[in-house]
């Protein structure tokens, strides 16, 4: 017995020592040595977080000899470009995945679970520390069906950006706490002389679904689907949210249905709109005096609460290794993903305009003071709803329906009830065809 205990202790000690030795020995240069000269192809968006990563890239390439070939696309083209590439067994070695694409990519086996690499000591950085990612963000952006595929890269939470100068001038010493307050108190006081209290970007694309429609469902207790995957849009709570949006439009600029992120951010940056609810990713452009006139007046708060709580918009992207890449490319791709999302690089990424999903970086000295969006962001990532938009493979079809009928509601072409009824029927038809009601597919979103 004594002997067995002794052997076990020795084995454990040896294992820990070996592990520690391996950990201390692991370097990016060594890990990448077999893959020097490999090129990996990835889609990047035309957004600040990607510019930040691109600026950091020379360091990675110098250390590893791996070339990262960036193909830039606007958001609207990114999904189509990647789907066509994966269907045709094309060139992309890394998938850039919006959280609502993850089910689609995973179910089509276009991406590889991270466990393939984290279980390989030659490739897994001992400092990877998956627990350091905000759990909500890691699971929502990179996880599907209990498996992690991607690491959070370009991370957003909806925040309330407000012009404190305009608010003070109107007699407010802080931002609204609730959506009702925003509409009933701040709305009338701030909408005058060609200026507007609020702008809710609602263009008919993913912006309509994510930034406008879903944003008004959740805080009011609504949702797209009930627990049986039937439409929940005619529920009292969903209708309350959608009607609220209609009422709120009187305090928004004319033609808000043609506002995308650029227009909403620009209206705020020019001082024409007092408040916007936008992704954290736009912080750097609004803080830049070259693109914003309101740098000194801009302040940030979490999104207002509704009757059901805060439930802020959740969005963002993960990077995952593409299964179509060969083994060398997969390894090189993983090393890049691991590096760009690492704890060690999180601060630099943040300083260059990105928004990392590492908890540790927001605890570092000076970060919360230097980046005033941090407290609101961290709070939002505690309250977020992973299924803010369903993440299943059918979302690309459903979002088109939401975009169409959500816009018709806003334009007053249909009532919220009429729109929700048709939208619900069409949404259920897509889900029926997919096999959710026959039990062919699990009710996962």
């Amino acid at each position: 017995m004594k002997f067995r205990t002794c052997v076990s202790t020795l084995a454990l000690t040896a294992g820990l020592t070996l592990g520690a030795a391996q950990a201390s020995e692991w370097t990016l240069e060594k890990a990448a040595a077999p893959y020097a000269g490999t090129t990996v192809d990835v889609v990047f968006l035309l957004r600040p977080g990607y510019e930040a990563a691109e600026a950091m890239l020379p360091e990675f390439e110098a250390q590893t000899g791996i070339k990262v070939n960036i193909v830039k696309h606007p958001y609207e083209n990114a999904l189509g470009q990647q789907v066509r590439d994966f269907v045709a067994n094309g060139d992309f070695d890394i998938a850039l995945i919006d959280l609502v694409w993850i089910g689609n990519f995973a179910e089509n086996d276009w991406i590889v679970p991270v466990s393939k690499f984290t279980s390989n000591p030659d490739l897994a950085d001992p400092e990877l520390d998956m627990d350091d990612f905000f759990p909500l963000v890691l699971n929502a952006f990179g996880g599907w069906n209990g498996e992690i595929y991607g690491l959070p890269f370009d991370n957003y939470s909806g925040l309330l950006f407000y012009n404190s100068c305009m608010l003070e001038e109107a007699g407010f010493d802080g931002p609204p706490e609730t959506w009702a307050e925003l509409k009933d108190v701040y709305g009338p006081a701030l909408t005058k002389d060609g200026k507007y209290a609020f702008a809710l970007q609602s263009k008919r694309n993913e912006t309509q679904s994510a930034d406008s429609f879903a944003r008004m469902l959740w805080p009011f207790g609504g949702s797209f689907l009930d627990e049986n995957f039937r439409s929940n849009l005619l529920s009292e709570e969903s209708q309350a949210g959608l009607k609220f949006r209609q009422d709120l439009m009187q305090y928004m600029p004319e033609g808000i249905v043609s506002y995308d992120h650029a227009e909403a951010v620009n209206a705020f940056a020019q001082g024409d709109v007092a408040m916007i609810t936008e992704w954290s990713a736009f912080y750097s452009s609004l803080k830049n005096p070259e693109t914003s006139k309101v740098v000194d007046c801009m302040k940030i708060a979490p999104e207002p609460k509704g009757p059901a709580g805060r439930k802020p918009a959740l969005g963002g992207f993960s990077l995952a290794v593409a299964s179509q890449a060969d083994e060398n490319e997969q390894a090189a791709a993983w090393l890049f993903i691991q590096w760009v999302t690492s704890k060690a690089n999180a601060r630099e990424y943040l300083e260059r305009g990105g928004v990392p999903a590492r908890q540790s970086v927001y605890e570092m000295d000076g970060v919360a003071e230097a980046y005033d969006f941090v407290p609101a962001l961290v709070e939002s990532w505690q309250d977020g709803v992973p299924e803010f938009r369903p993440r299943f493979a059918e979302w690309p079809e459903i979002t088109e329906i939401v975009q169409e009928w959500g816009t018709k509601m806003m334009l007053g072409e249909v009532t919220t009830e009429e729109g929700a009824k048709i939208l619900g029927e069409r949404m259920e038809a897509v889900l029926e065809e997919a096999g959710y009601y026959s039990g062919d597919k699990p009710l996962a979103q």
Binding site: G80, P253, S258, Y259, P396, E400, L411
Partner: protein, 291 residues
Amino acid sequence: MAVKTPRGTIFGFLAPAVITLAVVGIVPLLYAFYTSLHFFNLTKLKNVRFIWFENYASVLTDPVFWEAMGRTFAMLLIALPLQIAIGLGIALILHAPGLGFLRLLTRLSLVLPMATTYAVVGLLGQVMFNLKFGVVNQLIGFLGIAPVNWIGDPFNAFAMIIFWDVWQWTPFVALVLLAGLTTVPSEVEEAAHLETKSWWTVLRHVQLPFLMPGLVAVLILRTADTLKLFDMVFTLTRGGPGSSTELISLMIQRVGFRAFDQGVASAQAIILLIITIILAQFYIKAFYKEV
């Protein structure tokens, strides 16, 4: 006695054109037809299956498809007559004697809109008609008119795409009709002018018969172009606000490349092709006569 050309020579000369046409035009068309008979979603390739004409049935019973089709024909019925009327006016002015250098300059400048890429026209529209920063609102502001929401209002947005289509393609109509006017024998035209002072009579009975071949070409080309109009509208309004500028080609693109339903999108495209062919046949039968 005529020498008979060997069959091989005939085929040799014809083959490159026929093969090119087949590869570029017919093979994709056949593939689209094949796709239209399948459940074929790019994100669900594991479920591809033959479903006969189900896609056609769903397209033909889809009110959204017919709304988009209605919008496309509304655009055609408004834009095409405007283009023909303004184009004919320009052609008649340029055909009048004594314009000299001005005529040359006008002819050259007429080419510019046509030479502008569709997508650039759309981007121009976005910049010029921007509610806040657009030059158009600034200009009407000088006249004391309040800024107009061109892009964000459904009616205005539709009017705007018609405006840009007329701006871009009226010169084409003008140049085709001007070419037609130059085919009128000068002695016939002079004699007609001696007979009557009415320009309408001359136009109706002397010039119009010579314009008909060009006019039929314009009708066919502009109809086909309008039915497949995509780039300008996509860059300008992306089909919005709402569905107000979602023409049939934008809808097909949306279904095929944003919802990835290639089967339904192919069925829509085939139906559009059939409608275009029927219209072209109608134009030829109704209007075309040899002079």
